[in-house]
């Protein structure tokens, strides 16, 4: 039966598509990115919350921040260390994490997260 050839071709194509990631990544295994902390950040030791929490929840925090500031006019955030922070992405976060490319973008690119924060908000420019 000649249609068996078509069936085999179909199966092969299907499995090739299915295992596409294997072929695609062949020989270019890259490890997970390491975030780079600025001197200032290292010094502070702790962000507004601890690192593990920030790792998972920073997007949520930023989302809350923007609502708090814009819609409720609450502009002060008491961090875990009891310190008060100005609720501002550009002025607070980026003040410490001034290395956007090394701090934010690495993981975002790795996981295809493309936040639209930077469409409006500024960040310290990299001086090379």
């Amino acid at each position: 039966m000649n249609d068996r050839n078509y069936i085999i071709i179909g199966l092969v194509v299907f499995f090739a598509l299915l295992t596409f990631p294997v072929w695609y990544n062949l020989g270019s295994a890259s490890s997970a990115p390491e975030v780079v902390l600025t001197e200032k950040a290292k010094e502070a030791k702790i962000c507004i919350e601890d690192a593990d929490f920030m790792r998972r929840e920073h997007m949520q925090i930023l989302n809350n921040w923007r609502d708090k500031v814009v819609r409720e006019d609450k502009r002060t955030y008491s961090g875990k260390d009891g310190k008060e922070y100005d609720v501002s992405l550009s002025n607070t976060c980026m003040d410490c994490h001034s290395n956007k490319a090394d701090f934010c973008d690495k993981c975002h690119t790795y996981t295809a997260v493309d936040p639209y924060c930077w469409d409006c908000h500024t960040y310290p420019e990299v001086t090379k």
């Binding site: 601890d50 929490f53 809350n64 819609r71 409720e72 002060t76 875990k80 409006c120």
Partner: protein, 271 residues
């Protein structure tokens, strides 16, 4: 059938509870590990200027062309308002030269007060540049038409825009009787001459307007325009009889724009 349905709902309920308990556990974990969950970590800034209803009085007698320019520059620089008039900008064409973005600008008397443009108007008024900005209406039509509630009215009377939410439908522009709102037809960033790092820019497809410098009020400063106006602009709480604005209105005859529309503007003009 009834039986089936009930049992189904019961079971589904149980399972959803079961599965969501996982997530609840995780959230609790997160909370424990993270912030002190008991108190609201967010607070109003201490130094902020507050009011029941912010308002402004423009004393046209004290304004000339130079003041006007100074005021406009101060505002537009502070808020990263783009200037699309530069022919060297990408995307510029003579057709879209009038796509300007403005928070505060000058107009002639008959444009600002068409109802009061009498036939034999004082020469002074005919030529007078009158500063125009968002009226921060007490009854703002733009708020009513916004489908995403990107424009909303704060408790202190400021009509605010949440740029994150703006989808660029421009209903608010159609609704505003004063033309106080502008649309970013092009990417504003290249059109900003000197960027103020303290304040965000907007993106293409977003509407913007004057916000009574709420970001300055939060840190205890007067609006940028007021600061540089040499007393031509006075800012304060309209609800407070002892405020400077009220005193001024008490002793001077002041008018508001298109009052008959019932929008109840918060900007007064002494002519």
């Amino acid at each position: 059938m009834e039986n089936t349905r009930r049992k189904f709902l019961k079971l589904t309920g149980v399972s959803v509870l079961g599965l969501s308990s996982l997530s609840v556990m995780d959230v609790l974990d997160a909370k424990k590990a993270g912030a002190a969950a008991d108190a609201d970590p967010y607070a109003y800034p201490e130094k902020a200027l507050t009011a029941q209803r912010w308002g402004m009085v423009v004393d046209t007698r004290k304004i000339d062309a130079r003041t006007t320019k100074r005021i406009i520059d101060a505002c537009h620089t502070a808020h990263n308002v783009p200037d699309f008039s530069d022919p060297n900008l990408p995307g510029f064409s003579p057709a879209n030269a009038r796509h300007t973005v403005k928070w505060i600008w000058d107009e002639t008397y008959d444009h600002v007060f068409p109802e009061k443009a009498d036939e034999f108007l004082a020469d002074r008024l005919k030529k007078l540049p009158i500063l125009t900005l968002c009226n921060q209406c007490a009854n703002p039509p733009c708020v009513r038409v916004c489908p995403t509630r990107a424009t909303f009215k704060r408790e202190d009377g400021i009509v605010m825009m949440d740029f994150h939410r703006c989808i660029g439908c421009r209903f608010c522009m159609a609704a505003c009787p004063y033309g106080s709102r502008s649309f970013n037809f092009r990417d504003p960033r290249p059109a900003i001459k000197k960027e103020n790092k303290q304040y965000p820019t907007r993106m293409k497809g977003v509407v913007e307007k004057c916000n009574f410098c709420e970001e300055r009020l939060a840190v205890g400063k007067q609006p940028a325009c007021v600061e540089v106006s040499n007393g031509a602009l006075v800012f304060g709480d309209l609800a407070d009889p002892n405020s400077e604005v009220r005193k001024l209105l008490n002793t001077n005859y002041a008018i508001r724009r298109k009052q008959s529309l019932g929008t109840n503007p918060s900007v007064y003009y002494i002519v």
